[in-house]
């Protein structure tokens, strides 16, 4: 299950929410499939992300009212639920990004010290 670096990345707990919010901010409204495809695209390493992880994140975010889903038609004329960032979501993204950067910087410093 666990993979070596280079083959795939296991998501750190709590990071998925941030990733989804950021993707929606940069790409505009996306449906779940589009979101998954986009995440696979942007990461250098293919992200092991199955729908069983993505959907709970979407439900969770929608419940917090950070994203809002509406039913629309895709370019292939399929109906799909498009998620868009809400204003609360944008605020949360800014805060979460800040928090993440601090945490990442801290971990980075810790790792640099240890090596």
């Amino acid at each position: 299950m666990a993979s070596e670096l280079g083959q795939g990345v296991e998501l750190i707990q709590g990071s998925l929410d941030l990733i989804v919010l950021r993707a929606l901010e940069s790409m505009g409204p996306l449906h779940a499939y589009g979101l998954a495809a986009r995440l696979e695209q942007v990461t250098e390493h293919p992200l092991t992300l199955n729908q069983g992880t993505l959907y709970p994140a979407l439900v969770r975010l929608e419940q917090r009212a950070w994203i809002k889903g509406t039913w629309q038609l895709t370019e292939t004329n399929r109906e799909a639920k498009y998620y868009a960032l809400t204003r609360a979501g944008a605020r949360a993204l800014a805060k979460e990004t800040e928090r993440w950067r601090r945490l990442a910087g801290f971990v980075e410093r810790l790792l640099a010290d240890g090596s």
């Binding site: 499939y33 199955n50 292939t76």
Partner: protein
Amino acid sequence: MSVLRRLLRRLWNAVAPGGAERELAREVASHLAILEDEYRRRGLSDDDARRAARRAFGAHAAIDRQRDARSFVWIDDLRRDTIYAIRTLTRSPGFTVVAVLTLALAIGANTTIFAVVDHVLVRSLPAPRADQLVRLYSSNPSGSPARHDVSVADAVDWRRAATSFDLVTVFGGTSLTMTGGAEPESIVGMTVGPEFFAMTGVTLALGHGFAPADYTSHANAALGPMRLDAATGDAAIILSDALWRRQFGGDPHVVGRRVELNGHPAVIAGVMPAGFQFNESAWGVADCWSPLVESPLLANRRGRQFTAIGRLKPGVGVAAAEAEMSAIASSLQQAHPQDDGNWTVRVEPLKASMTSEVRPTLLILFGGVGCVLLIACANIASLLIVRATGRSREVAVRIALGAGRGRIVRQWLTESALVAVTGGAAGFLVAVWALPALTAYAPRDLPRLAEVAVDARALTFCLALSLVTGLVCGAAPALVLGQVRTDALRAAAAVGGGRRRWLRPSLVVIQVSFAVMLLVGAGLMAQSVLAVRALDLGFDPHNVLSFGVNLRGASYEEVSATLAFTHDLLARLAAVPSVEAAGNGFVPLVGGLSDSFDTEGRTEAIACELEVTSGAYFRALRMRLRSGRLFTEADTHAGPPVAIVNEAFAHTAWGTGDAVGRRVRHKGDSVWLTVVGIIDNTRRSSLEAAPPPIVFLPLEQSRIGMATNFVLRTTGPPSAALTLVRDVVRQIDPTQAVSRVATMDERVARFVVPRQFNLWLIGLFALLAVVLAVVGIYGLVSELVTNRTPEIGVRMALGATRTQVIRLVAGGSVIVTTAGVALGLGGAAVVTRSLGSMIYGVTPLDPATLVIAPAALVLAAGLAAVAPARRATRVDPVIALRRE
């Protein structure tokens, strides 16, 4: 979205997950469709594309985790547990039906009795600040009873002196003959002071009520107990709703109308609201209310026939009020040594004093019905344990798969709670149906009976009881399941070999002991009913009609007029062929007139009852003449003065029943009367009180105008004679009304019915208890046989006899039953002592009851054990061993 809205959404999703679930399914479908499109674009066939899409999407199982994020886990668990419980319960309909029915009966019975207890004992009276109302009694420590009514003179002094109350009101009962309505009617009046309306807070349905001047008017005083004559002006009355409808057809313009009360003119001042009654007096349910005029009553400090009620000021307790009243009473003792000699005052909360007679009975019934519920609980718990043991493999599997024990226990509790709540709902229906039946047969003297109904409080009680029952019942299997271990899954592991084997037998012991207690109680009450029925009344109540005519009006102020009426009525009635005998005199079981007589050869007078009557009275009641003769037509003023005494009097006076020829005289009178006959003792004021001494005087020789009561022996059904009586009275004087009508059988029944009622209820509870206990024993033995069939097979193969097998199987139930009976008898010995007046003519430790009740139970238990035990003896060793 606010926190609250999110919470609500989650809650909604938990309760009704359908909407969110559908939304998710739609999204997943759309996702799959897009994936399929993608794969088709890459050149896959339709089928391959669908398969690939599914593979790529991943397991559907993940949806469960999303549900967790959506709702409260525990509500969701509860929902799933409920569905699971419904499924398992419908899979074993036999258990479910038995359990639900048992609980429906038990909870229904409890709810019914609760409704009665709640309305009669618990709820406040319908009056403002009702819990501050107290009843004031006069009390004479040297005499019995301890509580007497009060005189107006005393009450007025109390009101003047006491600071504990913000009001003290006095009221009395009176009987009035009303003419001017549809027809003459003898009605019960309540004479009330002005504070009565403030105390009850009643608002009249019609009219403005009494004016201040009404409480001092001579006309109203004339209606009071003192019966002043030569009244001028109009009296005032307020009608009860029932009287208003009966006599005036519910006429909305009745206020201001003039009627005659006892021949005096009176104006209707108002109509009470429907159902209004406050503290029914000894006179019965009030038909009307009239103003109490206090001034003429102040002279008679010994006329202790009024009810006094006070309302305590806020913050004043009963004890403080009683202390103050004692001080006031002792100053009254000094001021009026003749009348108030050693009289003190007793203060009791009004509701408690109203219900003091029925409280023990109701509480005992409540306890009895509670026992039934406990037994039912034990039964259900027992059944659930069997189910739990049977399903321990299932539980072991679930534990092995990682289910927490708490989770499993919770699921079992859900199942038992579901059974209990369903049983409770059915029980509520039982109560709705049973309560009217109960109140229809309940003794009439139960206070506030008309108010009793199944209502929201009863529903709450029912619901709470159901939930508690569910938890209590579910706790037992939870105990068993708490120790299921996964080794139960090993192929050869014995099923149901838990360490808590003592649990079910203990439950049966409890059942048996409660059943024994109820049986003993029912037995004692049955004996009491038999004892009361077997009482020698001293008269024959069958085919006797009793009634009264209150002669009212100016023409009956002379005693001679009353006598003339009585003669005329008796003569006319006696002439009717269907009348065997018609006499006047006090009606047995209603009460009499207290008096005292001197006897020859004794210095102190004998307290006794006085009866002025004729020979026909004895014949009408078929009272038994011991020796001498009855009164004859010759016993007039012309003849020598005579008397008849009863045995009790003769024995008290002379220590012998052979007293014909001895002489008695009215205490302090100069004329000696010769005893010409001795009559057997009769029950007078009540069925159960010992017969009092009585002196009978002939009507023709008496100078006392007696209240006019009559007894009539008929050849046919006595109630049919009522029309005849009414006709005859109307012929003599159309303004007089017949009242106090009842057959003597009915009067006897009034004393027997409450006992029978209690007996029926406790008997019913006992029957339920025994049936449940027997079912419990049957279940225990039956399960034992099933579990030990292989062992029995081995034993039989090794040569065990049938007797030995039966002993093996039934031995346990004998021990359980014996232990239960022993416990039950011990409990009964303690409990029956508090039965008090519920038992009569039998001691609480009546040996016959204490032997028969447990014997009946042991017999029933034996029968219950026979069937499974016989099954055990038919075990075929070969088959049993093959099963091993």
